[in-house]
């Protein structure tokens, strides 16, 4: 592997800096950041940005991909830091890592879990990191294996069961439909709470928001039958 040419290196650094500046603008202007404004911040003329990103949407897409990757990385790292057989510890570690990242990067979180931008279709690079969190949760449950607690009965109707079966088979997983069902409930809830918290819907409702979050995700752990 040869050393990258100087040109290539400064090009990559430039791309990174553009994204960094754009990320800063994201925090204040949300998804409608201005290309010309980030160009101004870099003492660059707006058209120069087009050497690096073919359009504003492309820049946004790059930011979205980075956000997915960063969130997935934070969650994965948190999981890896806990003893493998401490299932509840891993569960809470993943959940709070997602929350911490979301609160630290609310604009980027909003970019990936808020309103989808109008004309925009999620590029294929995002599907794998987007699935990462739920895969981590599922892995914890699978690892818990026969130590899982039995589930409170709640019948799953046939069509839904088929969807669940397909999802399990697609990944060649070893999981009961009922169990995956609860994982989906927990996953849904995780981002449900976070949307409310990050988007400010809990502001003058709940002060003990960390406790609130922990409590919710503990209930979800119970619901999926994670051992105590």
């Amino acid at each position: 592997m040869s050393a990258p040419s100087l040109r290539a290196r400064v090009r990559s650094e430039m791309s990174q800096e553009i994204k960094a500046v754009a990320r800063r603008h994201l925090a204040t202007d949300g998804a409608n950041l201005s290309l010309r404004a980030v160009a101004r911040d870099m003492d660059i003329v707006a058209s120069a940005l087009y050497r690096y990103f073919p359009s504003r949407d492309a820049l946004l897409t790059a930011l979205i991909i980075d956000a997915y990757d960063a969130l997935a990385a934070a969650a994965t790292e948190a999981d890896a830091a806990v003893r493998r057989d401490d299932f509840r510890g891993r569960w809470m570690a993943v959940c709070t890592a997602v929350r911490t990242w979301a609160l630290a990067n609310p604009a980027e979180y909003g970019l990936i879990y808020g309103n989808p931008v109008p004309g925009y279709a999620a590029p294929p690079e995002t599907v794998e990191p987007a699935a990462k969190v739920i895969l981590l949760l599922a892995a914890i449950v699978v690892d818990a294996g026969n130590r899982l607690e039995p589930l409170t009965a709640s019948p799953i109707v046939a069509p839904l069961r088929k969807d669940l079966r397909r999802l399990i088979d697609e990944r060649q997983g070893d999981l009961l439909e009922e169990r995956l069902d609860r994982i989906l409930v927990a996953w849904t809830h995780l981002f449900g709470v976070l949307n409310f918290e990050v988007f400010g819907r809990l502001d003058d409702m709940i002060q003990a928001r960390a406790d609130y979050f922990t409590h919710h995700m503990t209930l979800m752990a119970n619901l999926t039958g994670l051992p105590h």
Copy 2:
């Protein structure tokens, strides 16, 4: 009460039509609809809109308020159509009414439950209709009274308990903290599922989406102890 002057009437009709056209544009352009475009659609020059709304943000605000009101109305109506002592029936009626409205008006739903717009602070007119759904759910639980099932134990930490107590007292409600806690869980979950569904995150994951939703909200009814 005197009849409104002709001027006042056409003015109000004009405002309504502006909002109607804007709503149409909302569906395609999302939150960044163009004032000039809605003006064009009405064979009107853009500056004329300023006779009715002082700014684009004001128009968006009006749409947001309308959306809150419409959603609250749909939920209230659904609840009212069910026998008072059919608690689970009322619960599911409210939930599916919210879902039906959200799926029928995805753009407006995104406006009120998606990314908050950057510089924007929710006007006070929105807090009451915004709370409507959770109040309806709470009312169902309160009405169920002593027919509620006991809750699976899950300790609530002191600071969070204080928040719950305050919320109950603010409305002079008759509710245990534990019970309100579960209502909040269900409320969070309701909009968690809907965000995923409306924003397309379930698209190639779950086909039986109505079943999925019903199942989730049934689990939530169980979790809050609604009688069968």
